[in-house]
């Protein structure tokens, strides 16, 4: 069942992005930034965790989960160390996505040649 909900919820978040592209005529950068902020807000209100529990990768794979994990890391650290933790904890959970993108970006640039 989790596979079904992953498909549906993930698909719906992409439809939201497509509506921002087509109806509100936003650029991809604006759309992705807005989605990340939406994800961060949802986690601020404690709504993203239940969504992950419900939809699994349908909630963790779209870019909204980036906002969620930024807030999540900051909050986890803030509980331990107070206000200072908000700054030190921000990248705590997100690091995998950003470091993987950078590492494989460089490896990709080494292996592949630009086309055209």
């Amino acid at each position: 069942m989790i596979f079904f909900w992953a498909f549906v919820v993930g698909g719906l978040i992409c439809v939201l992005g497509q509506i921002m592209f087509d109806v509100f005529k936003l650029t991809p950068a604006h759309t992705l930034t807005t989605l990340v902020i939406i994800g961060a807000l949802l986690d601020g209100f404690g709504l993203y965790e239940p969504l992950i529990h419900f939809a699994g990768a349908g909630a963790t794979v779209p870019i909204t989960s980036f906002g969620n994990s930024l807030v999540h890391g900051a909050m986890a650290e803030a509980e331990k160390h107070g206000i200072i933790g908000v700054i030190t904890g921000i990248f705590e959970v997100t690091s995998a996505g950003i470091s993987a993108a950078i590492i494989f970006g460089v490896i990709g640039a080494i292996i592949f040649k630009p086309k055209g």
């Binding site: 596979f3 939201l16 930034t33 601020g44 933790g85 921000i90 995998a96 494989f104 460089v106």
Partner: protein, 159 residues
Amino acid sequence: MADQKKKQLPPEAQQYQALQAKRETKRPVIKNCIKAFLIGGFICLIGQLITTFYIYFFNFTEQTAGNPTVATLIIVTMFLTGFGIYDHLGQFAGAGTAVPVTGFANAVISSAIEHRTEGFILGVGTNMLKLAGPVIVYGVFASFIIALLKTLFTKLIGT
């Protein structure tokens, strides 16, 4: 505000804008949304398969399996981008390929490959995060504000 701006334009320009609005190709919103739903859903479904794999074979929990899933998807994206498959997919699926984390990875990796001819420091290094930059910058900034407010709020209530 946009209407005010329009009124100040000379009549020829207004006519031109009306013509432009009429000639602009209508975007097939519904069709695009269906494509985005199917492809985006499919990518999340693959993500769920990878997540399940990590939970069963490497003892990750539902909460911690997200990170290795994202990393795996990014490796796959590197090859798809390098062989030029992701671009074709992106033209077909629009937001369906842009919104999942693979779209973020594709933005980073394709600009890294594209600017490789300008050298590794000035080309790859400076341009890699050109498209992904705003997402990281405002994601971090918004999260900082939200986490700060939430921390202050819980402290105020706690005392």
